[in-house]
């Protein structure tokens, strides 16, 4: 039953990513060229509702299904980790024109080349695991 819920959420997410064009390389390129409000509008409107909803959940102490706390854990503070990691991610996001969600959406849409990007992302994750103790966090 729970598996079906995750599957439905995933299908819905995939459709939204594709139909919003957030999974399109062109939209990512255009965003970094400041050529259109489109991507900023998507992220901005998601955030506006996200911030409001999250505040309501916290103030009213709304629980997840089954009565457990919602996963709204504070993130440990660090500057190098988020800044360096973020910059590397941004370089990749603009180079491949895809982030981790849309990659899978594009695979489903039938773009075989995206499998190379996913393979690279798995490699990057693996190498991070090897180098983690040597990197500033």
């Amino acid at each position: 039953m729970k598996t079906l819920v995750y599957l439905i959420i995933g299908v819905f997410f995939g459709i939204v990513m594709y139909k919003s064009e957030a999974a399109s390389w062109f939209r990512i390129y255009e965003m970094f060229e400041f050529g259109s409000f489109h991507m900023y509008g998507i992220i901005g409107s998601a955030l506006a509702i996200g911030v409001m909803g999250t505040q309501i959940i916290k103030r009213r102490n709304i629980k997840a299904l089954g009565g457990q706390d919602m996963q709204l854990n504070p993130k440990a503070m660090s500057i190098p980790r988020y800044l360096f990691g973020g910059i590397l991610f941004g370089l990749g996001w603009a180079l491949a024109g895809a982030c981790p969600g849309p990659m899978y959406v594009l695979a489903g849409a039938g773009y075989g080349s995206i499998l190379i990007v996913i393979f690279g992302a798995l490699g990057g994750t693996f190498i991070y695991g090897l180098l983690r103790n040597k990197l500033p966090h």
Binding site: V5, Y6, I9, G10, V11, F13, Y18, S20, E21, A22, A23, S24, W25, R27, Y29, F32, E33, G35, I43, A46, L47, G50, V51, G53, A64, G66, P74, M77, R81, Y82, L83, G85, G86, F89, G90, G92, W93, A94, L95, A98, C99, P100, G101, Y104, V105, A107, A109, Y111, I114, I116, V117, I118, G120, A121, G123, G124, F126, I127, G129, L130
Partner: protein
């Protein structure tokens, strides 16, 4: 039916992404699409090489189901819900043409990069592989990607996520303004 076939405007798409985040919170999970890459490494046996991958990945199986759903969603959208073209700013189209990318407005992804025939071009192969590598490495280093930081983290007013998102844009702007002219 036209509104289904046409691209969805930002003010429809953004709130629907927030809905995905809330749906996952409601079932006791967190919206973040890059963590499944770590899970996949663990399933592949990467814990032999680094204890970073030594965790109970079975608890993260739900995330792989979401991924499977996203793949299905992509298939359904591309085949039944879209004419698979993206109309971007005409000025950006001209800029792309100067890079030899002429497929803007005709396809969902540039055929010059994602077309099957491009795979025989070592340069394009490197672009896809290195791009993916940086996405995987960077998102794990930063502890999240666009969904984990730019949506979940910022919605929860997390300063670390703000730093990460600033990093995303520094990296993206460096790539587009300084490295693209060298590649294309």
């Amino acid at each position: 039916m036209e509104w289904i076939m046409n691209p969805w405007p930002w003010y429809v798409s953004g709130p629907l992404i927030a809905l995905v985040m809330f749906a996952l919170l409601f079932v006791g999970k967190q919206f973040g699409m890059s963590s499944n890459l770590r899970t996949a490494c663990s399933i592949g046996g990467a814990s032999k090489a680094s204890d970073f991958f030594d965790f109970d990945w079975k608890k993260e199986r739900w995330n792989l189901i979401v991924v499977l759903g996203a793949i299905i969603g992509g298939f359904v959208s591309a085949n039944y819900l879209s004419d698979n073209t993206v109309n971007i700013n005409p000025d950006v189209v001209i800029k792309l043409e100067s890079y030899g990318i002429n497929s803007a407005g005709e396809s969902y992804l540039p055929t010059e990069i994602f077309g099957d025939e491009s795979l025989s071009d070592p340069k394009i192969l490197a672009v896809l592989l290195i791009g993916g590598f940086l996405v995987g490495f960077g998102s794990r280093y930063a502890g999240g990607c666009t969904s984990g930081h730019a949506i979940s983290g910022l919605s929860n007013l997390q300063l670390p996520s703000l730093i990460a998102v600033i990093g995303f844009f520094i990296g993206g702007l460096i790539m587009i303004n300084f490295i693209y002219p060298l590649i294309f």
